[in-house]
Symmetry: C2
Subunit: 223 residues, 2 copies
DNA sequence: ATGGGACTAGATAGATTGTTCTAGTTATTT
DNA sequence: AAATAACTAGAACAATCTATCTAGTCCCAT
């Protein structure tokens, strides 16, 4: 009835490391099994397919992401922006250890699989939402209602995109400096930004935020 | 003597699309051949291995990146920041067409391959340098020597990381809005930023920029 | 016109992949 | 003690992968 071994957990952990290090397709089932010190019999006892293993990896990550920025984790840090970047510092450590417990830089995998594996695409979308919401709620806390929600959401998206891109570069070149450079700059920009919130709202001469949003999008397409 | 067919070019083009859409390992040689309307005989006539094909894709991209932000391309746009984002708008269109001619979102591939394929890692590093230099020189143009070079380089890194992350998300979820949201916000942040250059330099209380840089890095590690 | 280099064609090899299968062990329940 | 369920073991299979091989066609220079 109750589970009697930690093999399932070992497989998930091994997979999350290998998927991140080598990508979904390159990380073979055999390699995962070997790293987890299991056998294919055990593997297919717990997971019907390799795809289901990736889904389990994603599911476990969501919980960890939610906890990453929680006040209990960084009790001493009051300022929400600083708590955000403190959490990203934890991420940095994971990166250094070659782990990917938070599944944050997995857009790469998703791009690899979204066409053919709709369940994984959905799972990834869910992870993305969790990330953006976590960041956004920290930004809201720091904004004290001064900035509108729409702006905060796009900023959360930007922050996550930047973190993901920086993590990928760091992984690709085995060099955490690349991650640090981008994040230090990001920190500066995010910190210096609330002051000109008013300015940024209408920097294109428009006044109503949603319309300005529309126009800005238009600009992209026009070139 | 001189080449007599465009097969090589067709193979490079097909590969750049498939590598981007499916990743290096998933994009099989056969699929590339089929898409390029070639045969394996032709393939291995031009490229000793699949890896060499990817290297050719990277090599071609470098030239295109350099041209992307050139003044001739956007003759009417004088402001360098606007020229930067105009170039990124071109990128956006390529994304919409499923192409990856500029090899910009290929950190994903690199992460997939850097361990086992050192030549590709080096090729990717070169593409990264080209990108960062291109962005940095635009930023320098716009800064009129007011901001120090170090800051501009980290900012260029951040911009590229954000663009890459946003592109990956857009590809993963087949939704360009994700790209737009991040880039609109990035535009706002980069635009609003030169004013507080002085502030951002020493925002942690340090004065000498390199030292401040060191300390900021320290902060990451401390958590 | 002919020799030679550039290129094409596609069958095939050899390795690797995800998955299945049968037979087993271990622990818990009755 | 026997039965049942949870789990393990690893050989084997079918599909797919990259790369090779031989035999060709096409075009240009001599």
């Amino acid at each position: 009835m109750a589970e009697r071994s930690n093999t399932r957990e070992r497989l998930i952990r091994a997979a999350s490391e290998l998927f991140w290090a080598e990508g979904y397709n390159r990380a073979g089932v055999n390699a995962i099994i070997r790293r987890a010190e299991a056998t294919s019999g055990s593997f297919y006892h717990f997971f019907p397919t390799k795809e289901d293993l990736l889904l389990a990896v994603l599911a476990r990550a969501e919980g960890r992401i939610k906890r990453l920025f929680s006040p209990t984790e960084f009790g001493k840090i009051i300022d929400p922006t600083e708590r955000l970047f403190a959490g990203l510092g934890v991420l940095r450590q994971e990166l250094g250890r070659g782990a990917a417990e938070f599944c944050f830089p997995m857009a790469a995998l998703s791009a690899e699989l979204s066409d053919t594996h709709p369940r994984i695409r959905d799972g990834m979308a869910s992870v993305l939402r969790v990330w953006v919401r976590a960041i956004q709620s920290l930004l809201e806390e720091g904004a004290n209602g001064i900035r509108n929600e729409r702006d905060l959401k796009t900023e959360a998206h930007l922050i996550f995109a930047a973190v993901e891109g920086a993590a990928l570069q760091a992984q690709a070149f085995q060099n955490l400096d690349l991650f640090d450079e981008s994040l230090i700059r990001l920190h500066v920009l995010v910190r210096s930004q609330p002051d000109d919130a008013e300015f940024s709202e209408g920097f294109k001469g428009e006044f109503e935020p949603p319309v300005q949003q529309e126009n800005a999008t238009q600009d992209w397409r026009s070139w």
